[in-house]
Amino acid sequence: MAPAFRDVCRQKSFIVTAEMGPPKGTDTSRLREIVHQIGSSVDAINVTDNQSAVMKVSSLAICRLILEAGGEPILQLTCRDRNRLALQSDLLAAWVLGIRNVLCLTGDHVRIGDHPQAKPVFDLDSVQLLQVVANLNQGRDLAGNALEGATDFFPGAVVTPGADPLGPQILKFRKKIAAGARFFQTQAIFDVDQLKSFLDRAQPNGVTILAGIVLLVSPRMGQFLNEKIPGVYVPERLIERLAEVPKEKRLAEGIRIAAELIRAIRDTGICQGVHIMAIGREEKVPEILRLAE
């Protein structure tokens, strides 16, 4: 069994988490394969919750599979698909199943996903969800009722250091800390200085910050991130670097870029670790980490 992520955050000098998305359908073979390949090189594995509002297997089920495979899962939980009863009920279910970490998110809107006609819920927001986790940890539900057996989750949240405008983002970041978030995984960072200036301004104390690292695989992906993904800024020089190498070597170049970023973050010590999002190429995580050493 992997050490608890909570202890890792307290003790380890450089923390690494990675993200993976559940399958769309019941075939878990690729997922099991990836967990097997990356489980021992990272401290915890995030499982996304209908990410981008695209319907997949629930994060809860996949977290349990990771646990059974000896990994340390982080349950991602969004407010988009469940009201306060369902959220609390799923949190209790996660605890009962042995899941100890939860990342509280608002969630992407259903309109941008694969069921755009759906009714979005958003009964709570991410800050209120963090408060719910804090309540459950104290043995109380949101309505104040006593629980037969409390949880003891290690709660986390997300932040976008490159948000525009930044003021409202910092406001929410502070509320998340006040609501009990103990670790943060950031939106993708490609410019270490940007992250540094955010942290200088936001001054988070006593929380673990993991910088988001997205594996770039093509210049087009870089452009896509710049145009479509809020708060993500891929410098032109990285896009050019990828464009200059032949197609078949781009993945390797992307891996090098990710490794360089991780090294820069570790060497400057601006935060406590990284969170790797190797969308669709999760098996490359160990290689990225080897190169970053």
């Binding site: 608002t106 809107h109 927001d125 929410k172 708060g231």
Partner: protein
């Protein structure tokens, strides 16, 4: 005011085509102002229905009337002497007006000619925008007069989601992110502390449907 949009002609025609006598009933209040169901729109719809009937060689009489409003029984009274002449009423009121009409003249079918959209304001010629969700818990004094429940696509209470992009909303890049707007205005006022505290989850029980409100209700529910 309430803002609505007229249904496509074919849809209205389909529900009334078997009726030989039809009365189109307009609303002179909100629906006239938002140009969806006032006197002018009643005239247009009636003319269109007549033309379609003629083209299809159907014998159909379509008459028109516009009331000051349809959401108050007081204003529906003049219809009492008329309705029996018609097989169906086509209401150009909001959903509330349609229902009151149907309730008052329960022996006649009432069909809606509009889709009711929202509570909003006029944003310019022919354009209306939603502003209020009728949530029963107004917080505009804290949010610089900008409603996040209505104008934020997710109705968030504690600040923006991660989807704000250059101050625009993730759901619709044409729309300003409500939280960017609230923050900017409060920052200008030097009153950011108004949104600094964590807001508890909304209490949806105050707007249980069907909601009612009024001084006589207390007496009614007394034992």
């Amino acid at each position: 005011m309430i803002v609505a949009r007229r249904k496509p002609l074919a849809e209205i025609e389909a529900v009334v085509q078997d009726c030989t006598q039809v009365l189109v009933v307009g609303c002179g209040s909100c629906m006239a102002v938002c140009q969806a169901g006032g006197e002018k729109e009643v005239e247009i719809l009636a003319r269109q229905l007549r033309m379609r009937a003629r083209l299809a060689s159907r014998c159909q009489i379509v008459d028109e009337i516009t009331l000051p409003r349809q959401c108050d029984p007081e204003f529906l009274r003049p219809l009492a002497a008329l309705v029996d002449r018609y097989q169906a009423l086509v209401s150009m009121a909001c959903g509330a007006g349609v229902q009151l009409l149907a309730e008052q003249f329960a022996h006649r079918p009432v069909f809606p000619a509009l889709d009711t959209l929202f509570l909003g304001v006029n944003e310019g010629p022919g354009t209306w925008g939603q502003r209020c969700l009728a949530c029963g818990q107004c917080i505009l004094h804290l949010t610089a007069g900008i409603c996040p429940k209505t104008l934020c696509a997710k109705g968030l209470l504690n600040g923006p989601c991660g989807g704000t992009k250059h101050g625009k909303c993730e759901v619709n890049a044409e729309k300003t992110c409500a939280w960017a707007a609230i923050y900017n205005r409060l920052e200008k006022w030097g009153r950011l502390e108004l949104i600094g505290r964590i807001w508890p989850p909304a209490d949806w029980s105050v707007v249980d449907t069907p909601a009612r409100h009024g001084t006589s209700l207390a007496e009614e529910s007394a034992p």
